[in-house]
């Protein structure tokens, strides 16, 4: 299993964010994207997730399922949590579990892993910002995906929840999964490589 970025170039709103970016992340490895605001961390993650079309280059997953796109083999956790306020915590989790094709018995385990097991019946709208983030992150445990793309996963998480996330990521890497995370703070995980994205080039 190897996530490969092959000479990826991204242009957003007339600005070249990165050009000819090549890297590879092996199974069991985590790649942390760092860099100043506007360096293209989110753009890179969204490009891998297939949400942005790259101006040039491509992303591929060696050793993945050849019948599915890279995007389909990724968990994408963006800045927004993708939860419905008027559904309960458990209903939200059960939906993503069913939609993403996970085993139904994963719902309880995923909620427990992020400390939400006592809040199953609570409408998601009543959760605090940190709890909403945990519910958004619980999605990565609801279905099996070899690649995790996490965009600023620690936003509004307290120390306990950051450790929960760290444990989930460590387990995923131990199982041979790939993790790409954009972050400003160090994640509490075993080991990780860092890819520092530079300052964006000047507006043409």
């Amino acid at each position: 299993m190897k996530l490969v970025s092959d000479a990826l170039t991204s242009v957003r709103g007339g600005r070249t964010l990165f050009m000819g970016l090549s890297f590879a992340v092996d199974g069991g490895e985590a790649l942390l994207l760092t860099g100043p605001n506007g360096a293209g961390k989110t753009t890179l993650i969204r490009t891998i997730a297939g949400l942005f079309a790259p101006a040039a280059g491509r992303v591929r997953l060696d050793g993945g399922d050849p019948e599915r796109s890279v995007a389909e083999q990724c968990h994408y956790v963006g800045h927004l949590n993708a939860i419905k306020g008027n559904l309960s915590v458990e209903e939200n989790a059960a939906f993503w579990n069913g939609f993403l094709g996970g085993h139904a018995d994963r719902v309880a385990a995923a909620l427990a892993a992020f400390g939400l097991d006592a809040l199953g019946d609570v409408p998601a709208a009543y959760l605090s910002a940190g709890q909403k983030r945990r519910l958004g992150l619980a999605r990565i445990l609801l279905a099996e995906r070899p690649v995790w793309l996490l965009d600023e996963p620690t936003v509004s998480l307290d120390a306990t929840a950051q450790d929960m996330l760290g444990r989930a990521v460590d387990n995923h890497m131990a199982a041979g999964g790939v993790v790409v995370a954009a972050t400003h703070v160090p994640l509490p995980i075993g080991s990780a490589r860092e890819l520092r994205l530079g300052q964006a080039t000047e507006v043409a």
Partner: protein, 226 residues
């Protein structure tokens, strides 16, 4: 294949749950339908023959306007809370996501409005023999409204006040549905021979939009997500 069907079913189920828990959207659509149809006789007076003559048209036009109210929100809520991005990276192609959401919209809007139409028909002195055809024509025609509407909803996703724009965009596209829907109901009372052809064309419009509209809506969604 089963993963595909499961995801499709789950998405419809969630949209129904959200609509049920929310309540407001359906309430507004039904309320709007009732208010428009009851206001009209107040405006044109209690001439029962006149009301009976214009009833099919009024019921269909008001239904389209009521359905339009909630069309603009079809993808907007999912865009705002980030669900749309995850849906786009999931196991369902975006075309199927658009189809599932259109179907859910029909189940939560088109179907309840259709169920309400005969009750409102009473207020307009709709002839007794027209009720069955009123419901039939709406059952056949409203899926086309939801599926075609998905295109407008996707196109206006990021525009402010998209609700007004979607009306301008979509109402012209609803004209054929409107014409043949009204013709079918009239055909039931006037015996003009237009009944069966109208229903067939109405069905054709719905079937064509069932197949083609999700493709267009998905293309618009891809563009909006960029």
């Amino acid at each position: 294949m089963s993963a595909f069907l499961q995801a499709f079913r789950q998405l419809i189920r969630r949209d129904l749950l959200v609509a049920w828990a929310d309540g407001g959207t359906l309430g507004v659509a039904l309320g709007f339908y009732v208010v428009v149809v009851t206001l009209l006789p107040l405006g044109i007076g209690p001439d029962l023959n006149l009301l009976a003559r214009i009833a099919p048209g009024v019921l269909w036009v008001a239904l389209l306007l009521a359905a339009l109210l909630s069309l603009g929100r079809m993808f907007a809520a999912d865009l705002e809370d980030g669900s749309l991005e995850v849906l786009a990276t999931g196991p369902l192609p975006l075309e199927a996501v658009a189809a599932a959401k259109s179907l859910a919209h029909w189940l939560t809007t088109g179907l309840p409005l259709t169920a309400l139409a005969p009750v409102l028909g009473l207020l307009l002195n709709l002839p007794p023999e027209a009720y069955a055809m009123l419901v039939a024509s709406m059952l056949i025609g409203t899926p086309g409204v939801s599926f075609l509407g998905a295109i407008g909803a996707a196109l206006t996703l990021r525009t402010r006040r998209g609700g007004l724009l979607i009306a301008l965009l979509m109402l012209p596209l609803f004209v054929p549905t409107l014409i043949f829907g009204i013709e079918a109901v009239r055909g039931a009372t006037l015996d003009s021979g237009a009944l069966i052809p109208s229903l067939l064309i109405l069905g054709a419009i719905s079937l064509a939009s069932l197949v083609l509209a999700p493709i267009a809506a998905a293309a618009a969604l891809r563009f909006q997500l960029q």
